[in-house]
């Protein structure tokens, strides 16, 4: 019988020591450059839409 314990691999941290969200960076790096740009544009235009809706708030 093999008594050797399976090697435990620590999960990758969610944040770096200086507080950067590494989950977001891993997600961005999983995309193609075209998809990264698309994500930026959707985000920006979403923000601008909300700003326009609240222009008189």
């Amino acid at each position: 019988m093999n008594m050797t314990e399976p090697e435990f691999e620590a999960p990758a941290p969610d944040y770096s020591e200086d507080g950067v969200d590494l989950t977001l960076l891993r997600w961005m790096l999983s995309l193609t450059p075209q998809q990264r740009l698309q994500a930026l544009e959707e985000h920006l235009n979403g923000i601008l839409e909300i700003r326009a809706l609240n222009a008189h708030a």
């Binding site: 770096s16 200086d18 507080g19 950067v20 969200d21 590494l22 977001l24 960076l25 891993r26 997600w27 961005m28 790096l29 995309l31 193609t32 450059p33 075209q34 990264r36 740009l37 698309q38 994500a39 930026l40 544009e41 985000h43 920006l44 235009n45 601008l48 839409e49 326009a52």
Partner: protein
């Protein structure tokens, strides 16, 4: 409401045969950094042929200076030949045409530090690499630059670790 479309801006310049390098926040995003930016920064080659191509595109996208937009001032050949920054608003969003960046680095100086990236439909653009973006931000050391630096450094670290992994193909 104005539309911000860095991809449309990059495509129209690439399709017109303009020689440029994507720098700043859009370059950071293309390199995989999760940051926000509301303008597209490009460093252009300052040859007469290239400037003529740029002026053609600027006309097409109705580019005017962001400063005093009511005067609808348009950049001229001499502005694009200078060493300054042209901060413009266009029908596709804010566009900054930078003649030089950092300590006077021009298109030719930055070329060795770029990567060619595919943006779909066969469009390829030259993008400043993360190492150089970090070096430039460290040099500038403004509040905005210092804020972005930890994200850029972590993106570079993850990217380098990813490049070390065996290919899945």
């Amino acid at each position: 409401m104005p539309t911000h479309s860095p991809s449309a801006l990059l495509r129209i310049f690439a399709e017109a045969g303009v020689e440029f390098i994507v720098v700043g926040g859009v370059a950071a995003v293309l390199n995989g950094a999760a940051i926000n930016t509301f303008d597209t920064d490009l460093v252009h080659a300052r040859t007469p042929e290239n400037i003529s191509r740029i002026l053609g595109v600027l006309e097409e996208i109705d580019a005017i200076y962001r400063m005093q937009p009511e005067r609808r001032l348009r950049p001229k050949e001499s502005h694009l030949e200078s060493r300054g920054h042209q901060n413009l608003m266009t029908s596709m969003g804010h566009l900054d045409l930078l003649c030089t960046i950092g300590r006077g680095l021009a298109y030719e100086d930055l070329l060795p530090h770029t990567t060619s990236m595919e943006l779909g439909s066969g469009t390829r653009v030259l993008v400043l690499d993360l190492e150089t973006l970090i070096a430039l931000k460290q040099e500038l050391n403004g509040d905005k630059d210092r804020l972005a630096l930890p994200i850029l450094r972590q993106a570079l670290k993850l990217k380098q670790a990813k490049d070390l992994l065996p290919s899945e193909g």
